[in-house]
Structures are given as C-alpha cells and as structure tokens.
C-alpha cells in the first residue's frame, strides 16, 4: 500500500489559520492567565516538560484554552532552546512548604498543614461570601519538613527499590526494556494528568487491588541552583512551584524473608496533586506487581505506562488522523473492493 502525500492548499490553510486566530485567539494579558488560571498554567508546564509560566500562559492563549495543544506549543518550544546543564538536585525536604498533609499519620512532625485548598469546600457554584481573615498573629517563619515517611525509612521498614547507576534522559534517547527507573519516572513526571489518573484509577477499580495511603503530599517552592561561571559556585536562579507525593501500599514478605512496606513516589512541576498522587500510585503498581492480587493488569505493565501517558504523543497521534489521508484510504478502499469481489466469486 503506497502512501503519497498531498500538496497544495496553501491559500485555504492560510485563511483557516487566520480565521482560527480571529475566532479563538483573544487579546488578553498573559499575567491575568498566570494569576487566575494557575492550575492550567501548571498543567501545561508539567506536561510540556518545561517550567515557564510566561510561555505557558501564551500557549494557553494561543490555543484558546486547549491545554493539550498548549502543552504541545511548550514542548515544541523546549526543543528549540539550548540546554546548558543540570540544576542542583531537588529533595523533598528542600521544598518550602505551602501545604503538606499525610493521611497515613494523624500526628506528624511539623503537623498537618492544609495550605490553600478547596478539598473541604462544598462543590456548588454559589457565590460564597468569604470573610476576610486576619493572619497577623500567626508565625512568619518558613516551613521545611522531612517526609512523614522518614521515620519508617530510618527504621528500615520500607522496601527499597534498586536505583539507577546513571540518570537517564528520555529526551535524548528513549530506552529499551527493561526500562531504567529514572526513565520511567521522567516519563511519568511529564505525563498527561488525565491519562495517568485513568490508569491509576484502574488499580482501585476492576484491574487491581491497590488502595494506597497518602504518606506525604506537599506543594511548595523548590529552589533552582546553577553554577555561576565566574564565581565558580552555585547561585540561586529562582524558586519553582512543585508537587510531591509519597504513597504507601501494602506489605509483603521479601525474598530474604523481611517484611517491608511498599511505597511509590510522584513529583511534577506546578501545583497538581492529582498528577502527583496518580504518579505515586503508578510507581507503586509498576514496581510491586506481586503485592497485588493477580498480575499483568494495566497499571503494572511498563509498556502500557511508558507508551500511553504522554499527552503530546497521544494527542498528536489521535489528531494526525484528521489530516489528509486520501491516498491511504483509497488504498484501503481498493483492498476492500478486491476482498468483496473475491468473496462474491467464492459464494458462486
């Protein structure tokens, strides 16, 4: 079956793009988008794989609010920029806390900090009349906290998964199986929230028996450090919004006879608890197959996760079908016609 590309149509395409711009691309201030649609901006940055509030807001505006399309713009822009090196490694305890909760422990060091959350709001579209709160009597200090699971880890009660000797970068080379853990985590960290949520959800419904407990969920600001070329020391470049989640699964007896708790980790750019929780559940499910009832479900299959959660890829693939496929379809029709004729002959 041959595939011959079509050509021409430039004028109509130009008009179509112009029409799109006039119809969907309204003039608005990017700062308005950053300040009022911050979760949308965060989603685009995270799934685009590039922390840039300004360009994410621009991409949202340019795509008329289609967040997958906006992430595509950001991911594409990423590929045009020169990469200059690695920032200092960010650890969970480096995050300046805006919110940190644990549903595993009621009393944790540093306390449960609800932060800015609408978890407890009644989800009705009413104009709630919020009373102005006074905060002046509260502590002004920064909050940095160890993970709520630190004590369990220090007491050697948590299963430790083998780490990669070298950090993998999927944007340079996509690995072959068995996939390095750092590559799997990088894929998930850039994954599409909806896809990750759906796959994580399968573990709780008909395709698994994972019922994780959120050990430590936090949003806050992670510092970005990079080496100053003339000072020859690391300096602070900025603070970025991040979300991190550690979930705890079930326990089991390891091969060496020890009984250990299983955990999963999720981390992403921006404030996106749904994604970080989903990533931690997928991590838990992928690396602890024997801890669930039955095997080879959906969320514990590396092939499914590695190739089906990237929003840009799935969006791109699904949407390429709407581009001209006349020749392919003509070939399909020809084969269909031949099959029909053959079938008729056989019937005779």
């Amino acid at each position: 079956m041959g595939y011959v590309a079509v050509k021409g149509g430039e004028k109509a395409i130009e008009y179509s793009q112009n029409f799109y711009r006039q119809f969907f691309y309204r003039k608005s201030d990017n700062n308005f988008i950053i300040n009022n649609l911050s979760f949308a901006v965060d989603k685009v940055m995270s799934e685009g794989g590039l922390f840039t509030k300004l360009l994410s807001a621009e991409a949202i505006r340019k795509s008329g609010g289609d967040l997958l399309n906006a992430s595509f713009y950001v991911r594409a822009h990423r590929s045009t920029c020169q990469r200059t090196g690695d920032a200092r490694i960010v650890k969970t305890e480096d995050i300046r806390i805006l919110r940190r909760i644990s549903s595993a422990f009621k009393d944790i060091e540093g306390g449960q900090i609800l932060g800015p959350s609408d978890d407890y709001a009644v989800k009705l579209l009413l104009n709630a009349d919020y009373r102005e709160k006074k905060y002046k009597n509260f502590n002004k200090s920064d909050i940095y906290l160890k993970s709520a699971l630190t004590t369990l880890r220090n007491n050697n009660l948590v299963k430790k998964i083998e780490k990669d000797n070298q950090i993998w970068d999927i944007t340079r080379v996509f690995p072959n199986p068995p996939y390095p853990r750092s590559a799997v985590q990088q894929v998930m960290s850039r994954g599409e929230t909806g896809a990750m949520l759906a796959f994580a959800y399968t573990t709780m419904r008909g395709y698994g028996d994972v019922h994780p407990t959120i050990g430590d969920l936090r949003i806050g600001y992670a510092p970005v450090y990079f080496k100053h070329p003339f000072l020859e020391e690391e300096i602070k470049i900025g603070d970025i919004e991040v979300t991190s989640c550690e979930c705890v699964g079930s326990f089991n007896k390891d091969q060496n006879g020890d009984i250990k708790l299983t955990t999963g980790f999720g981390f992403c750019f921006g404030f996106n608890e749904t994604k970080a929780i989903s990533m931690s559940i997928l991590d838990l499910s992928l690396y602890n197959k024997s801890y669930t009832i039955g095997e080879k479900h959906i969320a514990d299959d590396f092939e499914i996760i590695m190739f089906h959660i990237d929003g840009i890829e799935s969006y791109g693939f699904a949407n390429h079908f709407k581009l001209p496929h006349y020749v392919t379809f003509q070939s399909d029709l020809q084969v269909f016609d031949n099959a029909n004729q053959f079938n008729k002959k056989e019937k005779k």
Binding site: M45, L50, F51, T52, L55, R78, C81, R83, T84, D86, A87, I89, V90, K91, L98, K106, D107, G111, Q112, I113, L114, G115, P116, S117, Y135, F138, N139, K140, S141, D142, K160, I161, K163, D164, I167, W168, D169, R181, S182, A183, Q185, Q186, S189, R190, V224, F226, H228, P229, F230, L231, I235, K236, I237, G238, I240, E246, F267, C268, F269, Y287
Partner: protein, 137 residues
C-alpha cells in the same frame, strides 16, 4: 550583600528602579555584550526517596547573558523568557565585580530584600494559619 545573591534578589526588584540603574550604567560605562540574552534550559534532577536515585522532572526555562563592564565580566541567569531582565542583571553583576555603583546596587538590594521578606512572611502566616490537628471522634 554578596555577589552570589544578586541574581536571585534583583529578579524581584521594581522594574522602574532596575531600568533607571540600567540607563545609568549603559550611559556612563562601556558595556560589551559578550553573550546576548539567550533562552536556555536547565534539567531539574529530583531525588527519588523510594530508590535513593535521581530522575529528571523536566527542564526549567532560563534566559542567560554575559557582559563586560569596566573590564569585569558579569553574568545573569534569570527565570523564564526575560531577555531585558537578564541583560540588566548581568550588567549589575559586572558592575559589582568591578566595584562600580556599589552604593546604588546595595540600596536597591536592601529594599528588594525587604520586599521579598515581607511577601514571604505574609504567605507563611497564611500557611501557618491552616495547621490543623483533627480531633478523634
């Protein structure tokens, strides 16, 4: 005030004050732009508590520039797509390295630091107001 802190602090400065400083430096000093403001990315490695290893969570967009002021090189790497800010900050870095306009730089540095601290304290108070200890039923 330390040179290593300038890059972060001045990103939060008042734009008008920064522009005034930029105009003063560029009109009074010979500034050679070694590297025009350039969009670059830096990879962000994150520690994985489950394995103890690291992985990349994504890239951070930064704008970098390098200048020479009075024989001293200045460099800046600012967050996001910010060419103008990057150029100004690299000039301030170069001036500081050659000991120029230290009083002006220090004055803006201190006022910005106060602004950063005030904003941060206000947010921290809001964060601390949400600390909770649920009662057992």
């Amino acid at each position: 005030m330390n040179r290593r802190d300038l890059n972060f602090v001045f990103q939060n400065s008042d734009k008008n004050q920064l522009n005034r400083l930029y105009e003063k430096i560029s009109s009074e000093q010979k500034v050679i732009v070694i590297q025009e403001p350039t969009s670059q990315t830096i990879m962000l490695p994150v520690k994985d508590p489950v394995s103890g290893g690291t992985f990349y969570a994504g890239e951070v967009l930064v704008t970098t520039s390098t200048v020479e002021v009075n024989g001293s090189k200045g460099w800046a790497m600012v967050m996001d797509d910010n060419p103008e800010l990057s150029l100004i900050l690299s000039m301030i870095d170069g001036c500081f390295a050659s000991g120029l306009y230290t009083d002006l730089i220090e004055s803006l540095y201190i006022s910005t630091l106060t602004k950063i601290s005030d904003t941060r304290e206000k947010i921290n108070q809001m964060v601390n107001s949400t600390k909770v200890s649920f009662d057992l039923m």
